[in-house]
């Protein structure tokens, strides 16, 4: 019942083990938990994915909507990323509009995709200055066992990769008919690390997340470009540590990308 106190006890164990070079769940410092992806699980969504990263579960749905372009980019579509930390996912999550944790999560995932220019927004223009496609990415946490960031990023990319653009007729969306697939220029993925008493750990599980003195996430693409970064929580990283994280992110995200492609039947 008292989550906080129980976790306090766990934290001691996490640190104790790390000092002996071990993680609480027996993984190597740079090892992801097992990843399982179910692409296109939802029929009403235009694209979707159900991701299990260890016991952490996240679902994501993509929907296309019609809207007006921003005045400063009249010939470009738009992207909207929203994340909900459902009370289903944890005894400490509450009902209500997204809190600061959910907002940060959504914005970090958003930046990784947006800045990589994964989506060609010019192709989402229907009528310049009048009508464009808005890509809604909605992420829902189903079970929080740590590292919702990477699970969400994997879910969002997979959902985009199987997303289909609805068919338009006389300016209206024709339900259940599609004009084609959304094509992605880049495949950005977040890779998240936790720092715990001078150890850097990839893909922190919940006990490790509770122990952390800093979180660092980096979004990278398949051609080894960095497209977003986020340092979160109280704590500080040394430059050398950050550099190591980036190198690891390039390497580890490549394996994740392969799993994603397999899930949508490519490769």
């Amino acid at each position: 019942m008292n989550e906080k106190v129980i976790w306090d006890l766990r934290i001691e164990q996490v640190i104790e083990k790390l000092k002996k070079g071990k993680r609480i769940d027996g993984r190597k410092l740079d090892e992801y938990r097992p990843l399982e992806i179910k692409a296109a699980f939802s029929q009403n969504a235009d694209g979707s994915a159900w991701v299990k990263l260890g016991a952490t579960e996240v679902v994501c749905g993509v929907k296309f909507g019609l809207g007006e372009p921003y005045p400063d980019s009249p010939d470009e579509g738009a992207l909207s990323v929203n994340a909900e930390l459902l009370p289903i996912a944890s005894p400490v999550f509450e009902v209500g509009p997204p809190n600061e944790d959910a907002t940060e999560l959504a914005r970090v995932v958003d930046r990784g995709i947006r800045e990589a220019k994964a989506i060609d927004f010019k192709k989402l223009c229907i009528e310049e200055g009048e009508k464009v496609w808005i890509v809604f990415i909605d992420i829902y946490a189903i079970n929080d066992d740590g590292n919702l960031f990477d699970a969400s990023s994997i879910a969002a990319l997979t959902a985009l990769l199987n997303a289909r653009i609805p068919k338009l007729e006389d300016g209206e969306i024709v339900k259940k008919e599609y004009s084609g697939k959304l094509k992605l220029g880049k495949l950005p993925l977040l890779t998240t690390f936790a720092k715990i008493s001078n150890f850097i750990l990839l893909d922190p599980c919940l006990a490790e997340e509770k122990s952390k003195e800093g979180r660092f996430s980096v979004a990278t693409t398949e051609d080894k470009k960095i497209t977003a970064m986020q340092k979160g929580e109280v704590g500080a990283f040394k430059l050398k540590e950050l550099e190591n994280c980036i190198d690891l992110a390039f390497e580890k995200s490549a394996a994740v990308r392969k799993t994603i492609k397999e899930s949508i039947g490519e490769d």
Partner: protein
């Protein structure tokens, strides 16, 4: 009872349910949980509690509160839904929570709350009854004492036929009537009953009888899901 032989748009018979799959105990952070697929409908339910009701002023010294929250994911419907809960979700949450409370021994847990969270991930009509069916399994999975399980189905009329388990296409028929219902399967008592549309008492009775029969089928699936989860315990 005469059941029409006419086939429905998806090829089902009048009294035939869509395929239903139920899995109990799917989430490791909740006290009880359930994942259910009912045709295209996909539902996850988590139960927490009984746990201390907070803030303290909401506590009832005579019983546990039952807090049922039904929500639909934005992408679970053809047109993207606003993430903010609508009036429909709020009403469904209220009546379904009351339906479940009828089956729970709430008086044994004063000052506590039993929280039931439902998320609809994909939908095609009948989500509230799918959710209620899943929630009853999740409550049992949480070890919460109950008089009976709750089994739910929607019945009604489309294209002149009395049918069970309407799809969206059937709900959109000119003469459509939708009756979501939930019963305690062992006592046959109704804990949820709603209706949209116009029909005669005779038609209504016929629909309800079909619903009662369907609930027994659903009850069997719920029971199997719970037994399957704990089968090892039988051999202890």
């Amino acid at each position: 009872m005469l059941v029409s032989k006419a086939k429905r748009p998806d090829g089902r018979k009048a009294d035939e349910l869509r395929e239903i799959k139920i899995e109990a105990g799917v989430l490791n952070r909740a006290d009880g949980s359930c994942y259910l697929e009912w045709g295209q409908n996909k539902v996850v339910v988590a139960v927490y509690g009984p746990r201390e009701a907070l803030p303290k002023h909401i506590q009832n010294p005579n019983k546990a509160l039952v807090n049922y929250i039904y929500r639909m994911a934005t992408f679970s419907v053809p047109e993207r839904k606003n993430p903010k809960p609508g009036r429909r979700e709020i009403e469904i949450s209220k009546v379904c929570g009351e339906a479940l409370e009828s089956a729970i021994f709430v008086e044994r847990f004063p000052n506590t709350t039993i929280d039931i969270f439902v998320e609809i991930l994909d939908s095609n009509a009948g989500t509230r009854v799918a959710a209620l069916t899943a929630a009853a399994v999740a409550l049992a999975d949480a070890g919460i004492p109950m008089r009976d399980l709750v089994s739910a189905v929607s019945v009604g009329r489309a294209n002149g036929e009395i049918i069970v388990d309407l799809t969206k296409e059937e709900e959109d028929a000119e003469d459509a009537v939708d009756i979501p219902m939930a019963i305690m399967p062992n006592t046959q008592e109704f804990v949820l009953l709603q209706m949209d549309g116009i029909m005669s008492k005779e038609e209504w009775s016929k629909a309800i009888a079909m619903g009662q029969k369907a609930c027994q089928q659903i009850y069997k699936l719920q029971r199997e899901a719970l037994r399957k989860r704990y089968l090892a315990a039988e051999k202890e």
